[in-house]
């Protein structure tokens, strides 16, 4: 079934408006976006950015989590395509994210009190993207530092929570109690999922059955322009690993004792 671009846009907008915090909802929209990237990618991207600008604060954070899954899927598709020898696939929406990330973050975390509910989650996702090189490290650093430079909202102002359910909603959306609790629960689930996935490294499709040693692959130039997925973990660890210290001296002694006999010790008694 092929739809014309206009129809695709209409359907996508409808999906976006119904997007919620659940994985099921996210995957549905991701699937649609990826399927129609050729030829409607730019257009669908515009819809996403528009929804970031116009939607409620809650729907904006839902979009950010959706973007996280979308990027993950785009990279997976790209890796798989090149592994089966298909025509090279670009990074699809990931390139748009890289291009427009400043604008998106400004919408998702608007200045002042209004953006506060989205601040923590946004930082977590940005750090996740940095660590996996979904977006290059320098760009993320710039965005995080811009977020950090904003003057913090005055402490005496409470976040927008209604004290009674009948509190009138203003255009800067004060949320009802039940909406607030629902949001807290959604955040808890999403943070938990992010934490559980924190160890995941960028994926690549490698052929088994051959002795393709990593040492024989090109080591790359000195500039950090394109980091191979297989080197991302090294890049991160290079930045974060502490220098050799006394703990390492102790560990080395421990392991050496386990491995090499001290003078006079015979073979291990295995009885």
């Amino acid at each position: 079934m092929s739809m014309d671009p206009f129809e695709v846009r209409i359907q996508f907008l409808a999906l976006l408006k119904r997007l919620n915090a659940s994985q099921q909802s996210i995957q549905k929209v991701v699937g649609f976006a990826v399927k129609y990237f050729p030829p409607c990618g730019e257009d669908l991207w515009d819809c996403i950015v528009e929804e970031c600008q116009k939607g409620s604060i809650n729907s904006r954070i839902n979009i950010l989590y959706f973007l996280d899954s979308l990027c993950e899927t785009c990279l997976l598709v790209r890796s798989h395509s090149s592994s089966i020898g298909s025509d090279p696939v670009n990074k699809q929406y990931v390139d748009f994210v890289n291009r427009d990330i400043g604008k998106i973050v400004e919408c998702i975390v608007p200045a002042g009190r209004e953006g506060l509910p989205n601040l923590t989650s946004t930082k977590q996702i940005l750090e996740n993207w940095r660590s996996k090189r979904v977006v290059d490290a320098q760009t993320i650093d710039d965005v995080l530092s811009a977020l950090g430079k904003r003057s913090p909202p005055v402490a005496s102002q409470a976040p927008p929570v209604a004290s009674t359910p009948s509190h009138k909603k203003s255009s800067h959306s004060s949320l009802s109690r039940s909406e607030v609790f629902k949001r807290i629960e959604e955040d808890r689930e999403r943070h938990k999922r992010l934490r559980e996935r924190r160890w995941v490294q960028p994926i690549s499709h490698r052929a088994p059955g051959q002795m393709n040693l990593l040492s024989l692959l090109p080591i790359g130039g000195e500039n950090d322009q394109e980091v191979l997925p297989l080197d991302v973990e090294f890049e991160n660890d290079w930045e974060t690993t502490s220098d050799w210290n006394e703990d390492d001296d102790e560990a080395a002694v421990d392991e050496s004792e386990l491995c090499f006999p001290a003078e006079g010790e015979g073979p291990m008694d295995l009885s």
């Binding site: 997976l76 090149s82 089966i84 490294q201 052929a207 322009q225 392991e255």
Partner: protein, 377 residues
């Protein structure tokens, strides 16, 4: 041999490292009728399979490396003829995911395993990312494979005496790289060599800091042997590092290592590289890989990670062999290791005990160390 312990109560001690003599003895025993070449091929297939699984799932290095170590360890205790490498690899990976807190359920591992082994299933899959929906597979087969995985898991846990501590060489590669003034690029090569090192039995014969230092040494050798000196301000050249680590020095006592350890490991790594280079050179460029033979592919094209292109292999076998010969001329006496005891270590898993393993009858105590080891409180 002593009489086996009574079935109702016995103790087993964690044997964290093997001596070369033990590896030799046990390998011969478990190899059975297979030739050394055949054994090596199965071992490389298993390690490559684990590397592929790890890359597709996005496991960190420690998870894949430990899985490879567990695989090697398993086949020092259990004969190759009784097990298929896919089952043992998957079980090793599953145990490793628990040890390193990078959990994946058996069915998830199986799904990726099927995707790797059955590309036609992948072609039929609706998922654009090449994933297989395990619910759409024959559940009898999946369940059979899952049960095999779990039964081998039990045996694996017993080979490590349920000891989940595991120090890895990777952090040491960076610490030692920086300590010795290596450039980031040289350290990255050492890191990759350390990854490849887990295709050999080196990591279960030497402690992780020595494995790391040895691979830094190999990186320095590869980058300096018959190469011009290129100085990079603020770092030591590979030639300087190779010179330091190639002879006795203060670094030995400071880092609990000996020059002969590094030499022994370097020879094993060079043999592995020679093998890898020969295989890569035999494969012609497949029509599927991108046509660019440049070792610096344009960022817009996918990188040729499927097969190493023959033209981009950075070393040749003759050069590596010349390096080995040069090293032999200045090599040092290897340090003494524990002599092979009269008790066959794999006797832990033979005789009357075999019926007990993987079952829950009788009491078997699994201890992290033999009596007297580390008891100085």
């Amino acid at each position: 041999m002593q009489s086996p312990p009574t079935p109702h109560s016995s103790s087993k001690y964690h044997h964290p490292y093997f001596t070369p003599a033990e590896v030799e003895y046990l390998s011969i025993k478990q190899r059975g009728k297979l030739s050394v070449t055949q054994e090596d091929r199965v071992r490389q297939n298993a390690c490559a399979f684990l590397e592929s699984l790890g890359a597709r799932i996005g496991f960190p290095r420690r998870t894949v490396a430990t899985a490879q170590n567990l695989y090697h360890r398993f086949h020092l205790f259990f004969p190759r003829k009784d097990f298929n490498y896919v089952d043992v690899s998957l079980a090793s990976l599953y145990v490793s995911t628990k040890m390193h807190d990078t959990l994946k359920k058996p069915r998830e591992l199986l799904a990726v395993s099927y995707a790797i082994r059955y590309p036609d299933l992948v072609a039929k899959s609706k998922h654009p990312g090449g994933e297989i929906d395990i619910d759409s597979m024959d559940q009898q087969i999946v369940e059979r494979d899952r049960q095999r995985l779990l039964s081998i898991e039990r045996l694996l846990l017993e080979t490590v005496c349920f000891n989940f501590t595991s120090r890895m060489p990777f952090p040491y590669v960076i610490k030692l790289g920086k300590t010795f003034g290596a450039s980031k690029k040289l350290t990255k090569l050492a890191w990759r060599l350390t990854i490849d090192c887990h295709r050999t039995l080196v990591p279960i014969q030497y402690p992780p800091h020595i494995v790391a230092l040895a691979n830094l040494y190999v990186a320095a050798l590869l980058s300096s042997f018959e190469q011009p000196i290129a100085s990079d301000p603020g770092t030591r050249t590979p030639h300087e590092i190779a010179a330091i680590l190639g002879k006795n020095g203060d670094w030995e006592s400071k880092y609990q290592a000996q020059v002969d350890d590094l030499e022994g490991i370097a020879h094993t790594m060079l043999d592995l590289l020679v093998q890898g280079v020969q295989i890569a050179t035999l494969n012609n460029t497949s029509p599927r890989t991108p046509s660019s033979p440049s070792p610096h592919p344009s960022p817009r094209m996918p990188h040729p990670l499927m097969e190493t292109l023959a033209s981009s292999v950075p070393y040749n076998a003759e050069q590596l062999t010349r390096l080995k010969i040069q090293m032999r001329q200045t090599e040092h006496e290897p340090r003494p290791r524990q002599p092979l005891g009269s008790a066959d270590p794999s006797a832990l898993y033979s005789g009357d005990d075999v019926g007990l393993l993987g079952r829950s009858e009788g009491t078997v105590r699994f201890l992290f160390g033999p009596a007297g080891a580390g008891d100085d409180f």
